[in-house]
Symmetry: C2
Subunit: 333 residues, 2 copies
């Protein structure tokens, strides 16, 4: 067995995986040229791919390797949650400098294994190669009842806009990590959403299964950018009330460690990336039913969809200004 | 629309793609958080992923960008051919330095579009990000009749071993390219298999559809390495007759341009990577039926499967020596 095949074996031993012939939806798992799946009748397969690159999405010297493993799979899976799909399988294309194929890889796989177990996913294929920097590419597969998959394009004027959780937390955590303060015990809980994001799988599946949401997207690049995407795809606009946005507080230890820089919770919440909360719209007649949603207490209505195709931020005096997409954009010049 | 979304739109305009809702196997194409597919009853979905990285698999200054686009998709699809699947869809995760997002990207997409058209594939999703070097990750999807997908693990003692095409051609082309001679007109035809590999889709699908092959793998890392994989997966060994191996000739212009270095065709054929020919085993009772295979004239029987679990190379005097996997292995130290 050559060194690459040994590495593949090591990966599939450390991460929940399925090799060889299997029964059920998965027919053939990791270890051959390709995997084979056969969804049951009445089930659609949902697929997405996502790159997580050293120097772009994480820094190898700054970010703990188990976080890199955990987060790379979690963030890829967030795209399945945003379709209302239940995550099932994943493939890992891993490019690795030889010097990271030892202890670093072990910790990386531990984090990825933890994410896979908590998300209910199994590794069914992949590809490994050496490279100058770590490059992680994940393909994730989920299932959704036929025709129930939710898109970003179904929002209609009058629909209410909801977000899950608190926004801006991952951006605040990132600032601490980049300032070299990420390992301080006093900010462990503040840094966690950046290192180990929670993915709203149950909420997404519930919204799709009950046909509650008219449109949905995950907030990966910031509320301003992802709401713009949802509105553009739906051919609508939106009015968001500033006072309703569940912006992260900036706790004292964080602001102190960041040199008392003035951190504006609203800016963090509007433009901070990596939260992986769900942003979705609900027709008014269905809003009552939302009370039965998993994690309903963490849902916040932040505004409504409008027919005019622009996004407005409304302050407490009723004054409106344009909301521009100013979240993460790798190709902005 | 932000710069990343503009780039995604540009990609999907330049490459055969499907966006939005669709009918048939593909339910939802590129442009949302994820794609949705629903294979017809009686059809299995075959999935594979593959990385193609600057500095590892190609050199941005040496390899024409349209070859990078063409080859990245072709080689990923070779894994589908090696299962007997018919290629249908692909997802592209593209990491790109900003300075390559202009003309280079245009040429890259032209090559990828040409591969997609010739392979009958449509782009259904992806991910783009900036990076210091070009990193291409492809997820490919194909279809095969339920239960007909071919693996590497079905070879049995007595089965005959076949390869398609001529081996070592891509390695010879690589040597010319690395020597800076790849653009000479006199070697254009010799370099082509390295830059624009042909994928044996029709042969793979035929072998699976008729249940002719007992095991199959594509030769991506060299005959010695991929035959070792097939034999290990099947729990068997193999005897290969040196005189039967369809080794590439080394034409005069190539050997002259390479400084008359002694190039051993057998070594090129045994250990050269990137040929993407199919290596498969056929039970003796089915060999006659092979005559109806697409491209039968290009198939060569090179030996047979043995119960003893090692690989032997037999010369014309009947003398046997061990065949070790000495093809491409990114993690060999």
């Amino acid at each position: 067995m050559n060194a690459e095949d040994q590495l593949i074996r090591r990966i599939s031993q450390r991460v929940p995986s399925q090799s060889g012939w299997a029964s059920g939806t998965l027919r053939l798992g990791i270890g051959d040229d390709a995997a084979i799946v056969a969804p049951r009748g009445g089930v659609d397969l949902v697929l997405s791919c996502d790159a997580f690159l050293e120097g772009v999405h994480f820094l190898a010297k700054t970010h703990p390797p188990d976080s890199v493993g955990y987060k790379s799979l979690a963030r890829a899976t967030s795209d399945l949650a945003a379709m209302g799909a239940t995550p099932r399988f994943f493939m890992l294309a891993l490019a690795l400098p030889v010097e990271r194929s030892g202890e670093w890889l072990g910790e990386f796989l531990r984090g990825m294994g933890r994410a896979a177990r908590s998300l209910g996913m199994r590794l069914i294929g992949g590809d490994t190669t050496k490279s100058g920097a770590v490059a992680i590419n994940l393909t994730v597969l989920g299932e959704v009842a036929s025709g129930r998959g939710l898109t970003r394009s179904g929002a209609r004027p009058g629909d209410l806009i909801y977000v899950s959780g608190v926004l801006g937390r991952a951006e605040l955590g990132l600032k601490l990590v980049l300032a070299g303060k990420g390992r301080r015990r006093s900010v462990a809980a503040i840094v966690r959403p950046h290192l180990y994001p929670r993915i709203r799988v149950a909420l997404g599946a519930w919204l799709a299964g009950r046909r509650i949401a008219s449109a949905i997207i995950d907030i990966s690049d910031g509320l301003s950018t992802d709401l713009t995407r949802l509105a553009e795809a739906s051919g609508v606009g939106a009015r968001v009330r500033i006072g309703l946005i569940p912006a992260t507080p900036v706790p004292e230890p964080a602001s102190r460690l960041l040199g008392n820089r003035r951190l504006n919770p609203l800016q963090l919440a509007l433009h901070g990336g990596d939260d992986y909360e769900l942003l979705f719209t609900v027709p008014r007649r269905k809003v009552k039913r939302l009370r039965a949603a998993p994690g309903f207490a963490e849902l916040t209505c932040i505004g409504e969809i409008t027919p005019e195709r622009h996004l407005l931020l409304v302050d407490r005096h009723g004054k409106a200004k344009a909301l521009k997409p100013r979240g993460w954009d790798p190709f902005r010049r």
